[in-house]
């Protein structure tokens, strides 16, 4: 039984490995700009209540066809620096150091900063500190319940999220995210707020840059050169760049590509799950060892 369980599990994992490839995507240039796919709101497992290490987050971003990411740990920036180092060593995507300051009533994402910012500061002071460090301030998932927390600081933001995975379950929230973005006058951003479930890059921002660098990404967002597609198929961002993108069609296709499961993926799931179930059966439902020692607790 043990051998059968192990064989099924290993075959399932091998099938998963076969299907786990970095997609061969050609770089896109439009209107004289290099278009980078970015996800600027990712969490990792080192003290940021998420599931992947910063190293794996970098690898997963490449597998999801992203050119740039921001690792935005809750109230800390250490793991983002580890991720940036790892990506530089392995030739991965651009990694920007970030932080999310999740407070009651408002969540602010800082991207392109260097040191941790105190989440207890009022929102205008948080944004001022982000700017002092050379970063950009993004209002995270600003649905209506957060508007009171942002009141008076809307126009200080460089950008706000108009696409977030919450739209998969609450499509009606798109109107609120877009309305808040209009209040800020900032760039439109799509981010996955990835913690583990779902996909890195499930919502993404197409950033129109002059060069493939962290500075280029930040400058483009400050200049509002972004385009974001939402799950409903709507598109937001700079009007001229939206026109270019819609004429071209490739950004829409990449943003809204439906995830398809190949036969290999199903083999991986079926055999992996069956093998894991049998392994659990063999290891945990077997009678525990007993001892002849009279002092045993059982």
């Amino acid at each position: 039984m043990k051998r059968i369980a192990a064989a099924l599990f290993v075959t399932g994992v091998a099938a998963g490995w076969v299907g786990d490839r970095v997609p061969p995507l050609d770089p896109i240039s439009l209107g004289g700009y290099l278009v980078l796919a970015a996800d600027l709101h990712l969490h990792d497992s080192t003290w940021s209540d998420a599931a992947l290490t910063p190293f794996s987050l970098v690898t997963e971003a490449a597998h999801q066809g992203l050119d740039a990411i921001a690792i935005t740990g809750h109230n800390q920036t250490h793991d983002a620096k580890w991720g940036r180092w790892f990506s530089e060593q392995t030739g991965g995507p651009i990694v920007l150091v970030g932080e999310e300051m999740p407070e009651i009533g408002h969540h602010v994402v800082a991207v392109g900063i260097d040191s941790t910012i105190d989440g207890a500061l009022p929102v205008p002071a948080q944004i001022a500190e982000i700017h002092r460090q050379g970063g950009i301030a993004i209002a995270a998932h600003p649905v209506a319940e957060f508007w009171a927390g942002f009141r008076g600081a809307e126009t200080l933001f460089d950008a706000s999220e108009v696409c977030h995975p919450l739209l998969f379950g609450q499509p009606e929230a798109e109107r609120e995210l877009v309305e808040f973005n209009r209040k800020t006058g900032g760039a439109a951003i799509g981010s996955s707020d990835f913690h583990g479930p779902g996909r890195v890059g499930a919502c993404r921002t197409f950033v129109f840059t002059h060069d493939q660098s962290a500075r280029g990404v930040l400058d483009a967002i400050r200049a509002k050169r972004t385009v974001v597609y939402t799950p409903s198929g709507h598109v937001y961002g700079d009007a001229a760049l939206i026109a270019l993108s819609e004429n071209d069609g490739r950004l829409r296709a990449r943003a809204l590509a439906h995830e398809s499961s190949s036969a290999v993926d199903w083999v991986s799931r079926l055999l992996g799950l069956t093998g894991l179930t049998l392994l659990v059966w063999v290891s945990h439902l077997r009678r525990p060892k007993t001892s002849g020692d009279a002092t045993a607790i059982r």
């Binding site: 009651i104 379950g169 609450q170 996909r199 499961s261 799950l273 290891s283 607790i297 059982r298």
Partner: protein, 177 residues
């Protein structure tokens, strides 16, 4: 003991891999095992301390092996999570996790019962209950402090429960839709 800890860790790694990619991939399974290594470590740390309350003890590895046998309700919960995630589109992965979080009451209750029965087999009721309680009082705070300690400042802890409640009710709506 080590084998049981590894299987628990493997289950956690597989859950991470399937929730994040829809596949059993070696790189994500290994990464999930590393990311959630604090769970089996906290569990065994809690047991090491609670075991001191028991009047009759065997070798630590044997005692721990018997104790870890009581993980099977949690492993069943993990298998259910993996199965549900494997059959659901990635856009519903968060909803799947939130709904499964409600189902955590089952492994919590079942593992308390199993551990109490294990400790009770050689100890009086008071000691057995104290050992079960001590194990939870050590292991659960360790897990929560590691996972949420930096992310949720103490001033916001109470609000966290309100947000969790909202998220779960929204997730049920998503899955039922």
């Amino acid at each position: 003991m080590v084998r049981r800890l590894l299987v628990l860790s493997l289950g956690l790694g597989c859950a991470v891999s399937v929730l994040a990619s829809g596949r059993f991939t070696p790189r994500l399974i290994a990464d999930g095992m590393v990311s959630f290594a604090f769970v089996p470590l906290a569990e065994i740390a809690g047991f090491a301390i609670s075991r001191r309350l028991l009047s009759r003890r065997d070798r630590f590895s044997l005692d721990a092996d018997r104790f870890l046998h009581g993980d099977w309700p949690w492993l069943a919960w993990i298998l259910a999570l993996v199965a549900l995630a494997a059959c659901s589109p990635s856009t519903r992965a968060f909803a799947v996790l939130n709904v499964m979080a409600i189902g955590m009451v089952l492994p919590i209750a079942a593992s308390i019962r199993l551990d109490y029965r294990l400790f009770r087999s050689t100890n009086d009721r008071g000691r057995a209950a104290a050992a079960v309680l001590a194990q939870r009082l050590v292991a659960w705070p360790l897990v929560l402090i590691y996972f949420l300690g930096v992310a949720i400042p103490p001033r916001n802890v109470l609000h966290l429960f309100v947000e969790l409640g909202n998220m779960m009710s929204e997730s049920i709506k998503v899955l039922l839709s």
